[in-house]
């Protein structure tokens, strides 16, 4: 596979641009006219022919314009795309929206998902941040109602697990407070894995609490993360490539199937990586149902504290520049939030 000449690169770039814009095959003549190229359509045709041989373009049928191939998109994203950063005005608008939120992670994640979906016209996905290396800081039990008690586990990072315990019999707040103090002293500084080292006589209540904490451990261990925030799923349906609805279903099934989605979001170390943003084109890897789609992913958070993943899923014919900037920008916002809050 030869190096492409500057002119070939230019033409490839324009074709990708134009196709992303119009969703229609792009013809040599059209290109020359629209971009006032200083060459004839015949010349463009020759170059297009080369690009086709090299595998960057294809034509749906013999006498139609060209369309980028998967390789074409990949070359575009990796080599041609100028790294547009978001216009200042938009940054400000978005920052403003976040500043009007409460300091609530959920709300921020929802807002981020909404903005991401609206601005990219694709489906947005965000996993809740997953705390790193969890150590227990404090345990508090609170009587709520009858035989119910709320157990709160505060971790050193500052994040919280909680659960409602159903007790054998009602227990007063005093007793619960005493137990809280005891447990806090025993487990402070330990991580959840060291729970199993604690043995000895336990009341029913204590067993209850222990059982829950172990449960919490198992859960935080095996699930890469918990909730997933999404928005803009219907944006996909608006794209012409999904008008047949069978293709759309395939891609969307993946969004509903949590386990598949988790797999996808935990993808890492992929070919095209730009400043922490990963681009998966045409379901590269083994995402058969995503052959028509591209995915842009980025981690966010702070390595020492907690990390999550955010990204967009859209048709391969996607505004990569804008989407990548958007993902990167929102990743930054959420990271800052985490650092500040935790």
């Amino acid at each position: 596979m030869k190096e492409l000449s500057a002119r070939q690169r230019r033409i490839l770039s324009l074709i990708v641009h134009e196709y992303i814009y119009s969703a229609d095959t792009v013809a040599s003549k059209h290109l020359v006219e629209k971009y006032h190229l200083s060459m004839s359509s015949a010349t463009v045709r020759n170059e297009m022919s080369v690009l086709t041989d090299e595998g960057y373009l294809k034509q749906p049928h013999t006498s139609a314009g060209r369309v980028p191939t998967e390789a074409g998109y990949r070359y575009f994203v990796g080599q041609l795309m100028q790294d547009t950063s978001l216009p200042e005005a938009m940054r400000r608008t978005i920052n403003h929206q976040f500043s009007q939120m409460h300091n609530d992670m959920r709300q921020w994640l929802e807002l981020a998902a909404t903005i991401l979906a609206n601005e990219t016209h694709a489906a947005s996905l965000i996993t809740a941040p997953q705390p790193v290396e969890a150590r227990i800081k404090h345990i508090q039990l609170i009587a709520t109602h009858g035989r119910q008690a709320l157990a709160v586990l505060v971790m050193e990072g500052g994040q919280i697990h909680q659960h409602i315990l159903t007790l054998e019999e009602p227990v007063s707040q005093e007793q619960l407070s005493i137990l809280s103090t005891k447990f806090s002293q025993i487990f402070a500084g330990k991580n959840l894995h060291s729970l199993s080292q604690y043995h000895g006589p336990m009341s029913q209540l204590e067993k209850n609490v222990m059982a829950w904490m172990e449960d919490e451990l198992v859960r935080s261990d095996q699930l890469p993360t918990g909730e997933i925030y999404m928005d803009g799923i219907t944006n996909m349906l608006a794209e012409p490539e999904f008008s047949d609805s069978e293709e759309a279903r395939k891609a969307m099934r993946l969004l509903e199937e949590r386990s598949l989605l988790q797999d996808l979001l935990s993808q890492t170390a992929l070919p095209d990586t730009i400043g922490g943003v990963q681009v998966l084109i045409g379901g590269e890897g083994n995402w058969n149902d995503l052959r028509q789609c591209s995915v842009i992913l980025s981690k966010y958070g702070s390595p020492g504290i907690a990390t999550g993943t955010l990204g967009v899923l859209g048709p391969m014919r996607m505004a990569y520049g804008r989407s990548i900037s958007m993902v990167r920008f929102l990743s930054g916002i959420l990271s800052d939030f985490i650092v500040e809050q935790w």
Copy 2:
């Protein structure tokens, strides 16, 4: 609009059945053959003609079979449908699945949404249960990390609000405990509306807590509920009426737009109500985007404690009998859970 004869009712019923099954226009001859009717197709045709005049059937074009109209479905649901209850085996299977869950509301709601979607082949919707008449029982502040504190508000029903407060400066757990006790004494038994009656000098911390509680009040006041659990959205795409994807988008947009969805789910006092289950056909009311759809809704929970809504959204050509039984059954399961747990 005259009364329908028994035979007319029978034929209407069969047509609705058949259309729900086949998604295709149903012809007089087809009906006679498939169901071994003891009359000729001509007779059926005459009756179909009457049913068409009465507005229960229509034909897509002059020489095609009949298809139920909105009114036809409504008559079917209201008058013709025999009230099938779920087979015992299925009840057991489902009960078993729930029994294997932890006592966690979230998990139950998710499971219910999944089962509902799979069994009805439609999209399922469940709102988290919303507590009724909230009175404060206890307030607890817990130091978490630096200037962060977790504030927990326990209501008499037993449900919990919580929030992470960011304080002006670090505050020790002792101080927080003192304040917790003070606030608990002042507000115990009050509902959130009486917060505003408390005035007088307050520390920055106290103001902080108060502000949050008022906030919580406003939120629980205006939002009918919080989270919404869904599943099976892609089931809609599989239905032939949504193969054109434009219609599908309209309906799905509604699922993404939280505010619209809230409106829909809080619909109540609708025409067709069967044992607490409400059936909305063809977006009756003013749901223009749901013209092709039907919605089956039921409240669940316990009037004194907390209630939520669950339901399914599918094409008008939907298996009403099965869906209604399913909704009713799951509504019962969730109600029991709430009564038991709270």
